[in-house]
């Protein structure tokens, strides 16, 4: 099949398969899956510039489908998502400016990649450590995490001003309650600040930011895992839209490829979102940790392929590692869903 904008011919089964994997993992983990899409498209022979732009556009589309699905399951806190978005949008533009400055100094590429690898590896290791500590060692509940103290401190932060005067309305409190997330009272500056931080890191690393936001919502704000996944997806719609608009402006998106993959992703999304209701939250976090570590390995291989002369094959290995782990995880998910179904049937009689 010929894709005119990217000027490439690909067998349609390949993007369809990639779309199903991305949709399923996106619905299950609450991530856009940009790193997975870009890696896959590069393996299929799509030019790198189009791979990134088309990937971001697909991230936006899958985020819309997944958010709607999670909304029907009651997993999205729109109030929290809206507050975070107000911090995210200016942070993305700030990050773009910092990126341009680093690029002008000639240190953007390596610095960003090293930071990315370090960030992904430490995040993945922390998630696995948390699973081991709360689930295996002390046998705590499914929603218990190691950062309860931090969560309490963040939620009770008192940040001035406590009131804002609005003409004709009067004083308005800067504290809100987020009942969907189970937060009674929190300063609006906390979610706005988190949104700003995530937007800045995401813009700097050239990613959607979903992979950082999900753990931050769970471990810093103490939100239940399924709500964190849904709210994270809502946030990705905004960041994905801004990113894909910028890429489309410079004609680096192939909409035909994106729509084909989106159609396949919509099938995977239904399964992924449904799986969050069937799999223990602690296991979701554990599997997410594994996926993040695989991402770190893939980015490290990609960096090595560029740094070491004659090691171009490592780039392909990185993409294959990513795709293989994504596909493997989808199979594990399907098996877990089937087992859960059997258990439920057995328990019903």
């Amino acid at each position: 099949m010929y894709f005119p904008n990217a000027d490439v011919v690909i067998h349609p089964a390949l993007p369809v398969l990639l779309g199903v994997i991305v949709g399923m993992l996106g619905g299950f983990f609450g991530v856009g899956g940009g790193f997975l899409i870009t890696g896959g498209l590069l393996v299929f022979g799509v030019p790198p510039v189009y791979a990134v732009g088309t990937g971001l556009t697909l991230v936006m589309g899958t985020a819309i489908i997944n958010t709607l699905k999670h909304r029907s399951l009651g997993n999205v806190d729109f109030k929290l998502g809206g507050l975070m978005v107000t911090g995210t949008i200016p942070a993305i533009f700030l990050a773009e400016w910092v990126n341009a400055t680093l690029e002008a100094a000639g240190i953007a590429g390596p610095v960003i990649r090293y930071v990315y690898v370090g960030f992904l590896a430490s995040l993945g290791l922390f998630l696995l450590f948390d699973y081991w500590r709360t689930h295996i060692r002390t046998h705590q509940g499914e929603e218990d995490v190691t950062t309860v103290g931090l969560t309490q401190r963040i939620r009770t932060l008192r940040i001035p001003p406590h009131w804002v005067g609005i003409p004709r309305v009067g004083g308005v409190s800067t504290y809100v309650s987020l009942p969907v997330s189970g937060i009674e009272r929190i300063s609006v500056f906390v979610p706005v600040g988190i949104g700003f931080g995530i937007g800045f890191i995401a813009g700097l690393l050239g990613a959607g930011g979903g992979f950082i936001l999900m753990p931050v919502l769970i471990y810093v704000l103490g939100i239940p895992t399924t709500i964190a996944i849904g709210t994270d997806l809502f946030q990705i719609i905004i960041t994905g839209s801004v990113g894909s608009f910028a890429y489309a402006l410079s004609d680096r998106v192939d909409p035909l490829l994106a729509v084909l993959m989106l159609s396949a992703a919509s099938i995977g999304s239904q399964l992924g979102a449904r799986a969050t209701q069937r799999v223990d939250p602690s296991r979701i976090r554990f599997m997410y940790g594994l996926l993040i570590i695989t991402g770190a390995v893939a980015v490290a291989l990609e960096e090595m392929s560029q740094a070491v002369p004659g090691a171009d094959a490592l780039s392909t290995v990185a993409s294959v590692v990513l795709l293989g782990s994504g596909g493997g995880m989808c199979i594990v998910l399907l098996v877990m869903m089937a087992r859960s179904r059997e258990r439920r049937r057995g328990g019903g009689h």
């Binding site: 556009t57 936006m60 009651g74 608009f245 489309a248 410079s250 729509v259």
Partner: protein, 94 residues
């Protein structure tokens, strides 16, 4: 179609960017509603079939009143468990 896509993308960048975002958003919404409706229909159909089968079996092997009440109670608890599990909360009642 190929000419339209390549022509629009090279000629008018802002219109092209808006077109790409619009196409993706509309496709995503359409697919989402399509799958939602399809899955709902499948669920309703299978539930109907199950209830039909239960009625058939009951007509063939009539139960005593106490057995029927016990079965209804069991079904009630099963439905309640399912709804709680789906909602992920303990405060949802059937």
């Amino acid at each position: 179609m190929n000419e339209f896509l390549t022509g629009l993308s090279s000629g008018q960048p802002v219109v092209w960017a808006a077109f790409v975002l619009g196409v993706m958003a509309v496709t995503a919404l359409t697919l989402s509603f399509f799958w939602d409706g399809t899955l709902r229909a499948v669920r309703a159909f299978t539930r109907e079939r199950t209830e039909e089968r239960v009625r058939e079996v009951l007509a063939r092997f009539p139960r005593a009143a106490w057995q029927r009440r016990a079965w209804q109670r069991r079904m009630w608890w099963r439905r309640r468990r399912m709804m709680r599990r789906r909602a992920g909360r303990d405060d949802v009642l059937p």
